[in-house]
């Protein structure tokens, strides 16, 4: 169907797509509903054998699913922190993985964009946030995407050419417009999270102004595997600091083979914010967001290590710490 209708788009929950359609960000001759594909909602497996999650599972289901209670907790946290209960009941994992990169010069009505001058991403020819740039700097704003990277997940795609399995990391491209390797005729059917031989912990920390509604202006996902109190592997990724989720695994290297304490975690966090390149196209100042990256990496790591993430009574992220 997608092949026979050029420009048609798939719709699942519609919570990202429909607002964009209303703002005339896409010109779509037809929408192809995925809601009839009931098989896409199945969740099967466990940490021992690996977990397969249908891309049509709603964010609300995943936020409370027992299979995401333990090692894969970061995914439940990420899903639970998306927007509002309403959006989580409608929105799907597949849709969240593919959230159209956002920019506050782009996610505006047609008349607003016309008034400011259309941008590269739609109807225009310059990037309003980086005027001399040949590319679009819209921000990857998915909460689940950095978690998929940190958990080393595999994305299963179906299209006219059959099934394709790719690493989550390979789903994304560093471009605000052409942000995914998914082909127009392909649908994400499931996400496969590999088994973990050792004990595994994970955490997702999300920075935003309000504890509901808001997209991330920074997301930090980390996953650690353990053996006898020692970190065996440490993986991590950042969300909302570039046009794609940013892998920070190489910066977490010093954790391997260690028993992380306050000092080591602080030291690791100190360098791991290097690949974050926030620009002035989301809420709050990008200087502040850059500074927060280090703070949030430290907090996510402490969380995954079972250390209290924030000193004192305040929790910068009420919901994450209460889980």
């Amino acid at each position: 169907m997608a092949a026979s209708q050029p420009g048609a788009m798939f719709i699942a929950g519609g919570t990202d797509l429909v607002p964009n359609l209303k703002r005339r960000q896409f010109d779509v001759p037809a929408l192809i509903s995925l809601s009839a594909l009931s098989g896409m909602r199945l969740i099967a497996g466990d940490a021992k054998d690996g977990l397969t999650i249908g891309a049509g599972a709603t964010l609300d289901e995943l936020a409370h699913h027992p299979a995401l209670n333990g090692p894969y907790r970061a995914l439940a946290q990420a899903c639970d922190l998306v927007s509002t209960p309403q959006v989580r009941c409608m929105g799907t994992l597949g849709g969240n993985l593919l959230v159209d990169p956002r920019c506050n010069y782009y996610n505006q009505t047609y008349s607003w964009r016309k008034a400011v001058g259309f941008c590269l991403k739609k109807d225009g020819d310059i990037c309003l946030v980086a005027r001399s740039s040949p590319r679009c700097w819209a921000v990857s704003s998915s909460d689940s995407a950095p978690v998929a990277l940190a958990l080393n997940a595999t994305v299963v795609l179906h299209g006219v050419g059959g099934e394709r399995r790719i690493r989550a990391d390979d789903l994304y491209k560093d471009d605000g417009i052409d942000y995914t390797t998914k082909r127009a005729d392909e649908v994400i059917t499931s996400l496969h999270v590999p088994a973990s031989k050792e004990r595994m912990t994970s955490a997702y920390w999300k920075l935003r102004r309000r504890p509901a509604f808001d997209f991330p202006i920074l997301g930090v996902a980390v996953a650690l595997s353990w053996d006898d109190g020692m970190v065996q592997t440490a993986r991590g990724a950042l969300g909302a600091v570039g046009s794609r989720p940013v892998d920070i695994t190489p910066f977490l290297g010093p954790l391997t083979g260690s028993r992380p304490d306050d000092r080591l975690i602080a030291e690791v966090a100190d360098g791991a914010d290097k690949p974050a390149r926030p620009l002035d196209n989301t809420d709050l100042s990008h200087y502040w967001r850059k500074r927060m990256t280090r703070v949030y990496i430290e907090r996510a790591l402490r969380d995954a290590c079972g250390l209290p993430p924030v000193e004192g009574r305040l929790s910068a992220q009420v919901k994450a710490s209460s889980m």
Binding site: V18, P19, L31, T84, P85, Q86, V87, M90
Partner: protein, 161 residues
């Protein structure tokens, strides 16, 4: 664009099956308000950023401004008009009225339906669970406290009875 072509839209709303003719791009919000006369469902942005348009679909909170009616065939839509049982108001409606939880009343339908979804799942929710469940519906009048108190009052009456 000019005059729009229409398709048959079948919906089950508040326990009644209905079929109307509407352009396929009309949202559930528009169909409810304009074609079915159910104006109790409000709108604040039509972009999913306030939840004024909240309804229940199969008992779960949904945004009618982003839901496409053609995708909802066979599912049960509940609006504020379907909240009373016959003429008897839902305990949440009574509690909201008695405690002054509806000031301007504009967020009230969505707030009530969202609270109903919570109480159906969790009959005696904690204050934190109430805040969490209602976090997607903006209110500019009340500061939310009277709303929390009304949900608690309704819950205590329902579980005591």
């Amino acid at each position: 664009m000019s005059i729009a072509d229409k398709v048959v839209v079948r919906l089950r709303v508040n326990g009644e099956d209905t079929a109307i003719m509407a352009p396929p791009y009309k949202t559930l919000l528009e169909v409810l308000r304009e074609d079915l006369g159910l104006t109790g469902t409000k709108h604040g942005c039509e972009l999913g950023e306030c939840s004024m348009c909240g309804v229940l679909v199969d008992g779960k909170p949904f945004l009618s401004c982003l839901a496409m009616p053609l995708d909802l065939e066979g599912r049960e839509v509940t609006t504020i008009e379907g909240m009373p049982r016959g003429r008897e108001l839902h305990p949440l409606q009574v509690a909201f009225a008695e405690l002054g939880a509806a000031q301007c009343g504009y967020c009230t339908p969505a707030m009530l339906l969202t609270a109903k979804a919570l109480l159906d799942r969790e009959p005696r929710p904690s204050r934190e669970a109430i805040k969490d469940a209602l976090s997607g519906v903006l209110c500019r009048c009340t500061g939310y406290l009277k709303i929390f108190e009304a949900v608690e009052l309704a819950a205590s009456r329902a579980t005591r009875g």
